[in-house]
Amino acid sequence: MRRADILREIAPVIRDHLVVCNIGIPSQELHGIDDQPTNFYMLGTMGLCSSIGLGLVLVQDKPVIAIDGDGSILTNMGTLATIGNNGSGNLILLVVDNGAYGSTGDQPTYTGMRTDLAGVARASGCENVHDVPGAEAGKAIEAALAAGGTHVIVAHCESGSEKHPPITLDPVVIRHRFMEAVKA
């Protein structure tokens, strides 16, 4: 199971929710698999998917699903402390952990070696941390949505990406339609 298989499987679960999706191939895959106005695609800015999701969840009531990656979390590890200490919203942080920098050619990250992101999340103060195989990501998101509150789901899968074209939507269009969806 690769990242795109997880995205395809969770698409029906996340379709009607606000989604912030990580830079690069993850956004291209989600855009190709199930483009929705409720999806905010990051076109740049490595590492900030979880931060955007947290900022969003702290100022309004709808749940937010941030689809992040292991490489991206590693570049902004402090985000887990900020999430762990500001858990007053309905944030679901899904970390697709494939042990690789997928957008740059699957170079290995440290999570494929000794680093355990679920352990880091727990040690950072995050309360509801779920370490699951990729095939259970959809079920974990459904359960987190039903329970409410802040959840960190680390879903493990193999590295490798699907071919989807780059997103050519203008960033202001992505932002505008997403903000309309937030208000709706």
Binding site: M42, S51, G55, L58, N76, P171, M179
Partner: protein
Amino acid sequence: MSIHKRIADDMAGAGIGFVTTVPCKQLAGVIAELETRDDMRHVPCNKEDEGMGLCAGAFMGGTKPAIIMQNTALGVTVNTLATLTQFYRMPLPMLISYRGELGEPIACQVEMAVHTKPLLQMMGIPTYHLHKQSDVEELPAILKYCFMSNKPVAILTDATFWGGY
């Protein structure tokens, strides 16, 4: 009224409801003031680019954001300012302590001070430098301008503005 309360009042008056901060000695009073208020949500961040991500989320959630940071952090936020704040056209008032100016006791702070205005200018970021404490009178207009233009705007506050060390 203290300068710290006045700045916080002006921020709330501009409709700002979400503020993230990385501390600086010069900004301690404003940050302490934020902690006492319930009209703005204060979320400390660990690094300024993370804070700009939080602000982008808050803005898309319908709340006007602001970041309070030191000028040395411009070095770690250039990519975020260009590819997130500016690329998606989001407003972001940045209240920045301008370390390394007159009265600075730490030589290393001067090294980023000399790059501060050139970096901001290179990035096309409107920049206002508050030097005398009376310059704070312009803050409401600067904040209004920021949210009118949907741009990051830098408000540099030096040691003279804060009354020295």
